[in-house]
């Protein structure tokens, strides 16, 4: 999570007047896994941040201030105008459902989710994957973000360690690289196309 400089929040980057529809993809994963980096690599605007306040016992959220009764959870996001009439929003959020629920309707209607994984901390992703598999029907693809000191595991080993379904896509990515990040989105949307729930044409 990089800190937003204050001059980022200069308004005025409106969508083209032809854009009449928005769709969204969630980018989920543990803190520091590279969500904002990936969003920044593909977004046509500097990633923006919005915060919601929550009451919390502060477990795993704000380690610096363990006794706080309310804290804020940030969501960084970006956008891509993919066609002249469709804007794709990428919302980065901690993976657990309780965070999505902070932003009312965040998961509703999503094309899918990119689940970002750091192989140095594989166990951080177990809860996220459980929630996606058990509590939602959202298509998702697993993105292994490559850090310089990431162990060089073959993808199939990561797949096995995460106990992914055979049809769930898993791809490696350098979240800083635009083309690499775009490929993860393409992989996810292609996967979503195979879900019966999207077969209906409702233009």
């Amino acid at each position: 999570m990089d800190s937003a400089s204050s001059d980022r929040t200069v308004p005025g980057q409106h969508l083209a007047p032809t854009v009449a529809r928005s769709v969204k993809i969630l980018v989920v994963g543990a803190f520091g896994v590279g969500k904002t980096t990936l969003i920044g690599a593909v977004s046509e605007i500097e990633p923006l941040r919005t915060e919601e306040r929550i009451t919390t016992a502060s477990v795993g959220i704000d380690p610096g201030q363990p006794n706080k009764e309310t804290t804020t959870v940030a969501m960084d996001f970006g956008r891509i105008t993919v066609t002249e009439d469709i804007a794709l929003y990428l919302f980065g959020t901690p993976g657990q459902r309780r965070f999505w629920d902070l932003w009312s309707g965040l998961a509703d209607g999503a094309v899918g989710a990119l689940v970002m994984i750091d192989t140095r901390h594989l166990e951080d992703s177990f809860e996220v994957l459980d929630q996606l598999e058990l509590r939602t029907k959202i298509p998702f693809a697993v993105v292994v973000n490559q850090f310089p000191d990431s162990p060089d595991y073959p993808l199939e080993r990561v797949r096995a360690a995460l106990d992914l379904l055979p049809e769930t896509p898993i791809v490696e990515c350098d979240a800083r690289d635009r083309q690499s990040a775009v490929l993860t989105l393409i992989t996810l949307v292609e996967h979503a196309m195979t879900f019966p729930v999207f077969q209906k044409v409702n233009a």
Partner: protein
């Protein structure tokens, strides 16, 4: 961890939205596109934030963008946007129901767009 503990608690929203925590419509999502109705002047009773919000929307933006620019929570901006739509100052640009999934035709368009990036 008790998930019931994690609830949005927008203290300030009760002041800014006359005591309401929920918008008058539930179809607003962070990605919902909104735009000002230029022909409709903002009521003289509107507050500073409402004016700022409408001004911000002289071009199309998603609700989340409006929230980020105003540095307010999405949950609070949803209440304000909803009121401003009711007052005729804002219009919702996205012409689909928020909870309806995009059709396959839309996904194909998105794919085409992504492949051209």
């Amino acid at each position: 961890m008790d998930s019931e503990e994690y609830r949005d608690h927008p203290v300030r929203s009760y002041v800014l939205t006359s005591g309401r925590a929920h918008p008058s419509r539930n179809t607003l999502r962070p990605e919902t596109l909104v735009r000002a109705v230029e022909s409709r002047p903002v009521l003289s009773t509107a507050g500073r934030l409402e004016r700022e919000l409408v001004q911000l929307c002289h071009g199309t933006l998603a609700l989340a963008e409006v929230a980020a620019y105003l540095q307010l929570p999405v949950s609070l901006v949803a209440v304000m946007v909803s009121d401003l739509v009711d007052a005729g100052n804002l219009t919702i640009r996205s012409n689909h129901q928020a909870h309806v999934l995009p059709g396959k035709d839309i996904l194909e368009k998105i794919l085409d767009g992504l492949r051209k990036l």
